[in-house]
Symmetry: C2
Subunit: 189 residues, 2 copies
């Protein structure tokens, strides 16, 4: 593990502040104070406030996309793929508690990167939906509206960051298993 650069440190601290107050409510002076320096000094390391948000969100979105591609090529059946998607979200969310807040709540402030983010998001949902539909066709899962199924599962998974920090006693493997029971058993035939 190479040590964190100053730029990475700024982005990490920014993500924490963005989670607490949202991107728009965090000023560069707030961020500087949290770093123990003056606002102008931040610009030795980053180009703009906007670039910090871009880095946080796009890195995460690409990580989810890469994870989905692995799931698709895993050769598992539908239920197995859904299990893997749950594990994917549990892992990324637990490693990026702060960044996930920006991904969920501040993506609309992306500006130049907005179109690219939305493309990744739509593709991810298309891939997810395809897995569900294939599972319905093959008779693996119950024939319920796949949009509602996807919404229910994805919303829960996308909000894990809100909840994981409150439950230190629960280990992540146990969390994956419990979510699997709750989210998947209800649609498994």
């Amino acid at each position: 593990m190479k040590p964190e650069t100053r730029k990475e440190e700024i982005i990490r601290v920014a993500a924490k502040l963005f989670k607490e107050k949202g991107y728009s409510a965090v000023t560069m002076r707030d961020l500087a104070k949290a770093m123990g320096i003056k606002a102008a000094s931040l610009y030795n390391h980053i180009n703009s406030k906007q670039d910090i948000l871009n880095a946080i969100i796009i890195n995460l979105a690409e990580e989810f996309t890469a994870g989905m591609k692995l799931v698709q090529s895993s050769g598992e059946n539908c239920i197995g793929k859904l299990n893997r998607i749950i594990e994917l979200h549990v892992r990324i969310s637990s490693q990026n508690i702060y960044g996930m807040a920006s991904l969920n709540n501040d993506w609309m402030h992306l500006e130049e990167k907005l179109d690219y983010y939305q493309r990744l998001r739509i593709d991810y949902e298309d891939d997810f939906r395809a897995i569900l539909k294939q599972g319905i066709t093959s008779g693996e899962i119950v024939d319920v509206n796949p949009e509602v199924m996807m919404f229910s599962i994805l919303t829960t998974l996308r909000s894990l960051y809100l909840w994981i920090p409150k439950k230190e006693e629960l280990n992540l493997e146990e969390l994956s298993n419990t979510l699997n029971q709750i989210l998947i058993k209800g649609i498994n035939k």
Copy 2:
């Protein structure tokens, strides 16, 4: 139905803008432009930007609290109460698509009303948890970690506002039924 006052109209339009960009990113000049007047004119009707947010969030939070009290006194069994809670969220969310965004994403900017809001929220979750635990004790629902169950169900219900507007073809009763199948069948014995 009495006609909407100018103040109510401002709050309604503000909620819409808050959903699109978040409370902090919406300026009083943005709101005025959306109303077709100048920013200063808003103050003939409202006391402050803060008061608009308070009105949006606290009204909704109290509506949820009142709904939960009705569910508690309904005399239904655990599964029946959970069904009613789903219907409660579907109803309130579909009637307050914009306000629900503020409730979920901008509650941290409440200031004076923050403690009161958090009290309502904690009480609501305590009531919800009590229903689940009682269901586990009575053998009505599966013995899975009730925290994870509650998180999964509540997160989905709290995010309905994101999704209802995209699915005009799905009527609300059908939505309640489908959610009931997905969220509850997985924990029903």
